[in-house]
Point group: C2
Chain length 460, copies 2
């Protein structure tokens, strides 16, 4: 490790400069006017991969924002892993809340501040630096490595499932390490054993052909807002559980092993309440808050609207009322089946005095689960324990990372979260930052991970 | 009547010209940039009243848009009546839907088209023309007449209660005739025996201190939209009745007499459904649609909103959710008591995981009722029967005319609707129009009304 450590130390400030340069490209995938910048970021990544000695470096066309691929596959009899990350970023607005321009990163208090610093430019540059350091000091890698970096993660990766499906051979690997991931705290590592899935639907209810005077007509026909409130209310039972018939049918109980691991996770209810700014938590009876967030599915209305929203009162009965609904799913719920159950519930409960239209949202995600003793997790746990001098927690996440489901579906490869973001880093918000200590610790961790993986025999 | 008829016939086209001139003043009370035009309209009315020989013509300051007052009180031993109307109009937008500029009136197919043609400039000019014709041909009026025309009806007459309360002596009268009123159809007259009252409240529910990610936090605390849907749904029983405790306590049953009169009103359910554009009517079980609209109170959500309303899905749990609620009241419900009941219901039903804020809207109206055998109604019925050659229907209206309540409260005078609008005249909408036949018939009717009133002894 001595030559490697020396290389890391000698190039430390250059690595930071490169991250600053990478962040300064405003690769906002959601905004068409930044389409060219997303491509610039792709070319920046490709050029960096070429420079460090990766092979087959190329932009992959997707029909939308491109992906970048590279590999190095000369480690005979060693496993092949994929490194995943993304070089697109969230929009920076509201700009007025940034203390400096979001794409002119600065360093302050050992933090690099700028849009994408943590999510995901800092985190995805880390494994590239590890690859550079290993290639520079050993002239080879301890394992076969394929890199897949995408430019559309922040808009739901619309073309990625097709890209992965169409490149099964090129992308074939034993497992994926996801650089777009997090640790528990600055000094407590964590491994993610599960993510919730996602499925959503828009409800549109229509009644009169136009907004009408609520004085003249109030009481004569069904106000679509009333129908919508009834329908929305019908989705939950008084005990907080989801009232859609069959909703929980495919929910698998947590294994005894994972339950034991879960019990080791320190959970501070007051801290959660403070974070949310609420005086009481609430949810499905019989499950504590963290259990509900990680192991139980849920259903939320993300938006509702109908009628007059301006100042004062406008006495109308609106022609329509609308709601956006999404469910977070857990293994082995399936988005398609949940969607069917939702539709059946809503159509059955909708009174026939209003017309209902249901439209599924494009973004869906399969719930994802990986065993704590998956070989990738065991190695990652060893590495993290060594780097942090502390055993990793085994956690889940309530949100969805759709690509984990697609890698599993098309490549039959599980994904191990191996990123160094922390949940206070203002991702998707103004003044996003990344700790330089995480940047550095991550580089050591990735070097160790690749070395440890070199000791594992490839699966046949 | 011969000299009067001759006068009417000779001046017919000038009256139309005057109405066109009156309509061309864009006296939109809701828009601050038209404040000066509302005053111009007030001066136009005052000048017209002076010219025809009315006395004490004056603008009354209100703190907002002015009112116009005039009187002629030399009919000894005759009753004193008040004529009410308004010279302000609704905004004209959407302008692109007008076939000609809304304040450049035209005549087409014996209709005068322009903003305010029916509501209320055409209808309020009619009694002024009747006064002119009587004064011109008889040099006197058959009754004592006070005119009160206001400039803030379309914004809820915020300063009118105080104006009326402060001018009880000046405005003292036996009864009020409201020129801002309607008939049943072009050849069927009607008298209005009741109007519903109004009271409204805004519900604001607050949960987390900001919008949060529904993946990370979904299931851990109460989504304020869910709480709002439950609260809104709790306001009605499955049978369509209002579920607020005590809501119906003060609702007086309709008198046998009025019920008999109601039975004579032809009601076409299909026509109502076509008008609304719905396939089914719906409401409180046990009451037919027209009964519900006229004789039963109701509660409507006029607007609801919370969370994301844009395209596609944004997976948030919003910090807050909101609804605007209003009730139409019938005699003898009181806005203040209903408000108290509503607040008690909402506060009781609101789960303690969210914070609730309730804010009353300024606009309220007392429900209003007048007996079919009120002297004013008996005279109006005689006049309308004569003019239309048909007995008037006795109807109610579902909407609110707050000023009727204020006249009753401060002047102890009932208001008789005596206007000639029809419900197809696009009031408050593009291409508002008024039938020239109504304009002319109205002038005859008002002359006859004033003459008939001259035969009635003043109340002591």
């Amino acid at each position: 490790m001595s030559r490697l450590s020396t290389y890391m130390a000698q190039n430390k400030s250059r690595f930071i400069d490169e991250l600053m340069d990478f962040i300064s490209i405003p690769s906002v995938s959601a905004l068409p006017e930044h389409g060219h910048d997303v491509e610039r970021a792709a070319l920046w990544v490709k050029s960096k991969l070429e420079k460090i000695g990766m092979e087959n470096c190329q932009l992959l066309e997707t029909g939308g924002h491109p992906a970048v691929y590279a590999d190095w596959c000369h480690a005979r009899h060693k496993p092949t892993i994929m490194i995943y990350g993304h070089f697109d970023v969230q929009p920076a607005d509201p700009l007025e809340l940034w203390r400096q321009p979001p794409f002119s990163p600065i360093i302050e208090d050992n933090r690099i501040i700028g849009r994408g610093a943590s999510d995901d430019k800092g985190n995805m540059l880390i494994p590239i630096i590890a690859l550079e350091a290993l290639l520079a000091t050993c002239d080879s890698l301890p394992v076969n490595v394929k890199c897949l970096f995408e430019g559309q993660e922040e808009i739901g990766s619309p073309q990625m499932p097709e890209l992965i499906a169409n490149h099964r051979d090129l992308f074939a690997c034993q497992m994926v390490f996801n650089a777009d991931s997090v640790q528990w705290s600055p000094d407590q590592p964590a491994l993610i054993l599960g993510l919730r899935g996602l499925v959503g639907i828009q409800i549109d209810l229509y009644s009169a052909s136009q907004d009408v005077h609520s004085g003249t007509f109030g009481g004569t026909f069904l106000n679509p807002i009333h129908a919508l409130a009834n329908l929305v209310d019908s989705l939950h039972n008084p005990d907080g559980s989801v009232a859609v018939a069959g909703f929980y049918d495919d929910v698998k109980p947590i294994s005894e092993t994972e339950l034991e691991l879960f019990k080791k996770v320190p959970f501070d209810e007051t801290a959660l309440m403070n974070k949310l700014g609420v005086e009481k938590l609430w949810g499905e009876t019989g499950y504590p808050p963290l259990h509900r967030a990680w192991y139980r599915p849920c259903l939320d209305i993300n938006g509702i609207w109908g009628g007059f929203q301006g100042n004062d009162l406008k006495t109308i009965i609106p022609a329509s009322a609308h709601a956006k609904l999404s469910c977070r799913l857990v293994p082995d719920q399936h988005p398609r089946r949940i969607l069917d159950l939702l539709k059946a519930h809503l159509e059955k409960k909708c009174p026939d005095q209003v017309r209902i239209k249901l439209s599924q949202f494009e973004s869906t995600a399969l719930p994802y689960r990986i065993s704590h003793d998956h070989p990738g997790n065991l190695i990652a746990a060893r590495v993290l324990s060594e780097i942090y001098n502390r055993t990793p927690l085994h956690i889940r996440m309530g949100f969805s990372v759709p690509i984990c489901g697609w890698f599993l579906k098309y490549l039959k490869a599980h994904t191990i979260g191996f990123g160094f973001g922390l949940d206070d880093e203002c991702i998707h918000a103004p003044n996003e930052f990344f700790r330089l200590s995480s940047f550095e610790k991550g580089q050591q961790a990735w070097c160790r991970l690749l070395q440890e993986l070199g000791g594992v025999a490839p699966e046949s």
